[in-house]
Symmetry: C2
Subunit: 357 residues, 2 copies
Amino acid sequence: MTEEFPTIQGAVCPIPLPHQEKIMLGHGSGGKMSHNLIQKYFLPALTNPILSVGDDSAVVQLTSNTDIARLALTTDSHVVWPLFFPGGDIGRLAICGTVNDLAMVGAIPLYLTVGFILEEGLEIGILERILQSMQEAAHESGIIIVAGDTKVVQHGKADGLYINTSGVGQINPNIHVSGANAQPGDVVILSGSVGDHGIAVLQARGELGFDSEITSDIAPLNQLTQAMLSVCPDIHVLRDPTRGGLATSLNEIAHQSKVGIIVKESDIPVRPAVAVACEMLGFDPLYIANEGKLIAIVPEDAQGIILSTMQKMKYGESSRVIGRVVADYPGKVLLITGIGSTRILDALSGELLPRIC
Amino acid sequence: MTEEFPTIQGAVCPIPLPHQEKIMLGHGSGGKMSHNLIQKYFLPALTNPILSVGDDSAVVQLTSNTDIARLALTTDSHVVWPLFFPGGDIGRLAICGTVNDLAMVGAIPLYLTVGFILEEGLEIGILERILQSMQEAAHESGIIIVAGDTKVVQHGKADGLYINTSGVGQINPNIHVSGANAQPGDVVILSGSVGDHGIAVLQARGELGFDSEITSDIAPLNQLTQAMLSVCPDIHVLRDPTRGGLATSLNEIAHQSKVGIIVKESDIPVRPAVAVACEMLGFDPLYIANEGKLIAIVPEDAQGIILSTMQKMKYGESSRVIGRVVADYPGKVLLITGIGSTRILDALSGELLPRIC
């Protein structure tokens, strides 16, 4: 967080006064401010080796009498606004978000818990529609909702409703997927176009200023990841580029794996309507949230079988190679732009679109 | 929910007009309105055999190569206000609440996930104190926080912060604890005084009108339950009487087990200061939330060893028998009052103390 300097008669006073740091919207962006909040406050307070790994789900070992099972555990609170938007709603988002976090460590999603915070005055008809949508998404992904909790807060102390979903998945013994496993020489695959979810939510907020056919890409990706892992158990990294977008997720991987990643802008698909909206609003689609896309980093010799497998699946039809992992520039992401120049592609700094998920 | 009748010129019009049902604070009470909301909307939409059981945690089976492990899964969102109160804070509450839900199905708590919804403008110093408190409670209970999530909403769209905790525990093969397992002849044990948590929170709200020494009883109960199960694996029911209080929890058990439960008012401990506060405010302490107490329903022949084990433990010193399970009055709880009469002790109806946990 930047230091605050009080202004005296129009001039900037260079003496920092004591002040209380406060939570800002940017702390929820999924970008650098979120990262700093977690590094500075959450990890030191709650630290342990499992929490510190930094993947989409925690991986734990469960010792039963004669065998050891590896479980993936994850949690996500969903505060998207508005509750309904083209292509989805907070209910579908809550299920798919958590299913995908499990899938991104190579787990088979098994069980889900749901926690609701309801605002007094919420129409029950709205709740019913959202519950219906959750059940449909659970069916599609094959996860089972096993436990729930409901709290109610006074009118004005929430915004309709918030949903936490926490999930448990099981990881087969030969699977070792982590953001820390990218290796020089690996190929970077992206499963489809970027920016759809964020722009669909902006459209629902009436912030686009024009009509478009943009819909959110929300989808459960576990069947896609399971198909990929069945043809190549040695996939190194899987990650869904949600808050902070593709650019931020690639930076996280480069940082975790201590490698460089080079991607080519012209290979990253962006739907024309999304590109137009971004152009008008001054956004870069590489920083816009997605909810049904994944990045896979795979050994070069497996790229053919993995790509052809992905392209046969509903949510992977448009999969393509967008870049490579290199030993140079550890921790950095480089973008080869449309005009052929190369620049550093940084993680999201500050807040772009609050309450996008 | 009661029908609404529009008023015309001061008279009550007897024709119910179509209206939208809305969420009311009572839907979060943990009593009958919560029960009705869950039965009418949540269960039909999300139904499956595991969700429908109705215990404090879901019990699922995990098949590994050669063995089957049983896991307990649970979730709770915490919206208590104020964030700090005598004897605890929202952080300790969030950890202990979930640890206790796991303990109440006989599980050993293993892993916890935490999901924060932070309000823009929250002082980070407050967050730090709460994180510290969470870590202390996690250490005390032995559970490991393995995954987290942080969302930020605009100022005025939350109330400081809300915390979801979801937990995973492991259940030993010989343990079968459930609210559905109470049997006629069983003995009902209570681990200590009731009403402390709810009255401590009211005091922090400045609603008592007098100073008192009342502190919340928030505590992790898993070491207590593990000691109890080690001397008697055949404990039938464990439940922590939180929202809705002792009366509501006993009703849930009577309903799940299709038995009657008779308890004696004079055997239920209430601290003098809590009794005074309840008297002044018109509350019945049997409906006030607790956060560090448990009900155990055990075979009669095991009551001696279980009671003596409980009384040696920090959070079970004041344990005592408060009643019996009977075959008559299935689904009902009967209270033998201080003056010797007997009356039905119903579940909480409507809302008593909003945002108590």
